[in-house]
């Protein structure tokens, strides 16, 4: 593989940049693999990368129905954080933070990681108390957390509405300074390029149509481009998980829902951090191009449509304008939607299944992007060793029937309520 560096950039400049190697090859599927990963998004590509790098398994195919990076890895709002209270989530996502920090070097691909800090706003004394508790829990797990008072928030984000007559006045906030954003597409491309260089086949435009199972053991998969034998199969298909589960006669504790995001026209640098509204569901950051990147609630009904509806967008942006009145002056540049695998407690599932050799990675809800490296790292371990890693030991599939839920928000099973 050609290494990306200043020298290779200069060298290729002499040939007018015509001689760059392709970053990854578009492979035809072979008849048989040791491991087949279904889903060529961030999590699937990261899993293939860590299987090859950490576990020396390279006879792998990543099977993707569309094109790699065309799903939720290309549709998110790029936020990376580990500001969770429960141990299972906090330790898992903090492992992710460690991997994010070194990812550009590890992948030799600039993922533009920008640890600009995230601020969750508080709008009451009770919320400040809750944030103090969460911040203390984070610190106990070795995660950085700072409780900000109103003046400190004002210094960091003066553009917020600090006037006296607002419905939800700002009392302060909880900040995780090491949180931030990254270039989402680069994450998919970086993982794809490295996985490809280690011998992983990336097979695009190949839809899974069925599974070959005998005696409770996975033998392979059926696809639109022929049957593929496999010793092990991992599912990394986010919002499409229930469709594949149906082919496997499995019913899962997840529902697929639609989540929208949008960006404004680009403006000059204004917002240095990721900021979230505490009295509703709205979050905002400014991209390197200057666009305000915004998101919020689900559309609120089961959907596989990958396109949203205006009432939810209006609701979300109303919250945005309550926070940042200047947003009302901006033009909307783009809106889009993706489909989320909403689990019944808001936490993910990375586990073995009752079918030997079949592994499940799903339930990412609103937050799959930040989990990409930790998800790939632990899922690769689960597949290679046929047992869960200590970091995903809590993300069991049977935790719902045993009562070991990880309900970070305390929302219960109505996944569409936020």
């Amino acid at each position: 593989m050609q290494k990306y560096s200043v020298l290779s950039l200069i060298k290729n400049a002499f040939s007018s940049h015509k001689d760059w190697e392709v970053a990854w090859k578009d492979q035809d599927p072979k008849k048989e693999y040791d491991v087949v990963i279904i889903g060529g998004g961030g999590h699937g590509l990261a899993t293939a990368y860590y299987l090859a790098k950490e576990h020396k398994i390279t006879n792998i195919a990543v099977i993707e129905k569309g094109w790699i990076g065309g799903g939720n890895i290309g549709r998110n709002t790029t936020i990376i954080r580990s500001n969770y209270m429960h141990d299972e989530n906090a330790l898992f996502y903090e492992k992710g933070m460690e991997l994010w920090r070194s990812m550009s070097q590890d992948l030799n691909f600039n993922i533009m990681f920008s640890p600009r800090g995230i601020i969750n706003l508080a709008h009451s004394d009770a919320q400040m108390n809750a944030y103090a508790r969460r911040g203390n829990s984070m610190k106990l797990n070795g995660i950085d957390a700072v409780l900000l008072n109103r003046e400190e928030v004002k210094n960091k984000v003066p553009i917020l509405d600090f006037s006296d007559n607002v419905r939800f006045p700002i009392f302060g906030g909880l900040m995780q300074p090491s949180a931030g954003t990254a270039r989402h597409d680069a994450v998919a491309w970086g993982y794809a390029r490295q996985a490809d260089s280690m011998g992983v086949d990336i097979v695009q435009h190949c839809e899974v149509t069925g599974f070959d199972i005998s005696n409770g053991k996975i033998k392979g998969i059926k696809t639109s481009r022929g049957d593929i034998k496999a010793k092990k199969v991992g599912l990394c298909v986010a919002g499409s998980t229930s469709i594949l589960a149906d082919m496997l006669n499995m019913t899962l504790p997840i529902e697929t829902h639609l989540l929208q995001a949008c960006v404004s026209e680009p403006i000059k640098p204004l917002l240095d951090h990721v900021v979230t509204f505490g009295a509703g569901h709205f979050y905002c950051s400014q991209s390197d191009k200057g666009e305000m990147v915004m998101g919020g609630d689900l559309d609120g009904y089961n959907s596989y449509a990958q396109r949203g509806n205006l009432p939810t967008l209006q609701h979300v942006l109303t919250e945005g304008i309550a926070m940042f009145p200047f947003l009302s002056k901006l033009k909307m540049l783009r809106t889009w939607g993706g489909i989320m695998d909403m689990s019944m407690d808001g936490s993910p599932i990375i586990d073995k299944t009752h079918i030997q050799g079949l592994y499940l990675n799903c339930g990412w809800c609103y937050g799959g992007f930040k989990a990409t490296p930790a998800s790939g790292f632990t899922f690769a371990h689960t597949i290679a060793q046929d047992k869960v890693h200590e970091l995903n030991a809590g993300f069991r599939l049977d935790r719902f029937s045993t009562g070991h839920l990880i309900d970070e928000k305390g929302l219960g099973t109505k996944t569409w309520i936020s």
Partner: protein, 90 residues
């Protein structure tokens, strides 16, 4: 914007309704021993189909009745709506 035909009020905007989830889920019968598996099925497990989905909606800003809606989760097309007590074949 979805337009949902409330069986009591006629076509109304989506803004007047609240979603209530999969209408095919059945609570285990009363006055009977319920296994963990049955609770699991009722509380947590969902088919979440791509395609026809029978679901509950609450006309919360209208007549306040719960209704059933047969809707396509892929195209958002609404095929039919029913009163909550209606039996619907899916």
């Amino acid at each position: 914007m979805l337009y949902i035909k409330c069986p009591y009020c006629g076509y109304r905007s989506q803004n007047e309704f609240a979603y209530g989830g999969d209408a095919t889920v059945k609570r285990p019968e009363l006055n009977k021993e319920v296994t963990d598996k049955e609770w699991d099925n009722f509380v947590y497990l969902r088919k979440s189909p791509r395609g026809k989905h029978l679901e509950l909606w609450h006309h919360v800003s209208g007549c306040r009745q719960w209704i059933k809606v047969l809707r396509d989760t892929n195209t958002h097309e609404i095929f039919n709506t029913y009163k909550s007590e209606d039996k619907v074949e899916t």
